[in-house]
Symmetry: C2
Subunit: 338 residues, 2 copies
DNA sequence: GGCTGGCACTCGGACGGACAGAGTGCCAGG
DNA sequence: CCTGGCACTCTGTCCGTCCGAGTGCCAGCC
């Protein structure tokens, strides 16, 4: 086990390195943090920390920089979450309060996160799986063509065309619309399949085919839309990444374009509480020199989606975590209100 | 007026520079293009071209590179649009044919453009202004709360909440729905205001307030949604930009995040035919070292939105223009079919 | 036993001069 | 009007030197 002072040294190294972006040596450390010991002692501590794999030297005779393992220890044991200041909280609230619809909420959240953390922000649209159905609308576009519109409690709207096996009258359509809504309105997506199971039975034989078709399209929509959408922003912040640009930035940009990768990334994160994935802890190779801070958010107590930021492993973890947590909290409130 | 040979020299300079990314000298030129004259002659021509402002030297005793004015001449007079090869065309068509809905069409188009041109692609969603109404749906969510859903012929769906001044019965709602659709279905957005003008008159006095409210919300939606949405992709291609990275790439990333800027950029482009804006021709400062190639696309003959790519001024103009044109053409077809 | 000061060593980055190569402009001659 | 030749300029690179920061180790002190 590492002594208390060695942990302090590690904390100091992380803080200084995050600030200066330069390897930090024993002398500079004792000058900037009053550890109460001499550089020589710190050197011994550093050697020990290096043996344990928490820090490393880029070259012999250079200062030390934290390894992924070092950051991990820092995040887990040495640093808390820095709470937002009151003015910051107010600013967040004001900024989000102006949103007019779901798209706008997500767009604003992305901008806000990017600005606060000065990193790349990723916000997942509220997921359908855990949402409830507000209304299902059916429109007759042609005798044998129906448009199905699904409206969720998070304000999302999905539409699908349905080609019916047989012409379907306005009266039947109205009937189906009414029965369907009385069954599923207000219910969770997951429950819908069970609820509509026996619906076709109430209809005339010649209409049953169409009813089944419509229902299966509805179920498909519920499932398919688990391909969640997401929005990213703040990519310009990538330019602050490092000096060895093209090589570092390219894979990150590529990863950000692959929604699948991002969704996986957010998905892997734990369901409750904040998750921090540091460097190589990220499965996706292109993000091996970045850290991802993510957290679930949602109206009410339940998380319906996730948001987070992607930045260099050398980031201000307490500040970033504070911002992410605060934003998630307020977005949740906004969603609950609307 | 510049002699024919001098134009050839300019063309050769542009081509070589685009290929090598390095200033091109007189000797290399005569070696790679058989101009039939000696380097010394070419030097004279280059001096003339430089006097006219078509090319410039980064430093004394370096080769020449084209100026924005040089690229302009090249695009206008010296180069055509390089048509896509048959296999390329097929690939485009196959790739786009798989799209399942509007979002998917746009997403695929962005990816395709980015891949073909190896640059940043920007695709505007089909605009509502010139679209027509397919259907307007009204749903009663509460006695005095109606949800309005607008469906366009391009497959876009917009929804709005309407708080009614007075409770509004199901019967009246059905009535309004029917009358409204018989008036506006299939009509162009621009015509809608005129068409619904006298609708309230057909209703009972106590319902007129609500009808007016619904109608004005509809009109607002038509107008508001001129804040068009757009999608971008291929930002990873920015890493191929140049060597002096952070400075060049940052403003571009920032511009790309500002949808307003991008929309303006596309908007400025001429309405018909392809538009190429080179370097400083772009009003937005951050894009002064980039060129934008854009073109309108749409179902039928009419352009309903624009798409294009953003790349370094040093780009392969004929190839880029060919790809942009081809993609726009096929997207138009896809939209017309669906 | 742990902390400290001192010392020799290593290494990377900055500085500066020399050099080669590419490109130019100009001029005289075909 | 084109061409070959020539002198000139500038950049990028290579190389050697130097300096400073930082380390590891050791002997001494508390």
């Amino acid at each position: 086990m590492l002594s208390e002072r060695r942990l302090q040294v590690l904390r100091a190294i992380v803080q200084d390195y995050v600030g200066t972006e330069e390897p930090v040596g024993s002398k500079a450390l004792t000058e900037r943090h009053n550890l109460g010991v001499s550089p020589a002692t710190v050197r011994n501590d550093m050697a020990a920390l290096e043996d344990e794999g928490f820090i490393a030297q880029p070259h012999t005779s250079a200062g030390r920089i934290p390894t992924d393992k070092g950051y991990r220890l820092f995040v887990d044991k040495l640093a808390g979450v820095k709470p937002m200041s009151a003015p910051e909280k107010r600013a967040i609230q004001n900024f989000l309060d102006g949103a007019v619809d779901l798209d706008d909420v997500v767009a604003r959240t992305v901008r806000l996160l990017a600005q606060l953390t000065r990193q790349v922000a990723v916000v997942q649209y509220p997921s359908l799986t855990r949402s409830t159905v507000r209304h299902v609308e059916l429109l007759s576009l042609a005798p044998a063509r129906v448009m199905l519109v699904l409206i969720t409690d998070t304000g999302r709207v999905e539409q699908r065309m349905v080609d019916c096996p047989a012409p379907f009258g306005e009266a039947s359509l109205a009937d189906l619309r009414a029965r369907l809504n009385s069954k599923v309105a207000g219910r969770r997506f997951a429950d819908v399949p069970r609820l509509v199971e026996d619906l076709p039975e109430g209809f005339d034989v010649e209409d049953r085919g169409t009813v089944s078709t419509v229902l299966s399209t509805l179920l498909e929509t519920l499932v398919e839309e688990n391909e969640e959408r997401l929005m990213i922003g703040g990519t310009a912040n990538l330019t602050r990444f490092g000096h060895d640009f093209p090589l570092t930035i390219r894979p990150v940009l590529e990863a950000l374009e692959e929604q699948v990768v991002l969704l996986k990334l957010l998905g892997e994160a734990g369901d409750s509480g904040m998750t921090v994935r540091i460097g190589h802890e990220n499965a996706y190779e292109g993000l091996n020199s970045t850290s991802v801070v993510s957290v679930g958010y949602g109206s009410g107590g339940e998380a319906v989606a996730k948001l987070g930021v992607v930045g260099p492993t050398r980031m201000d973890y307490p500040g970033t975590m504070g911002a992410v947590r605060a934003v998630a909290r307020y977005v949740g409130q906004i969603l609950a209100e609307s």
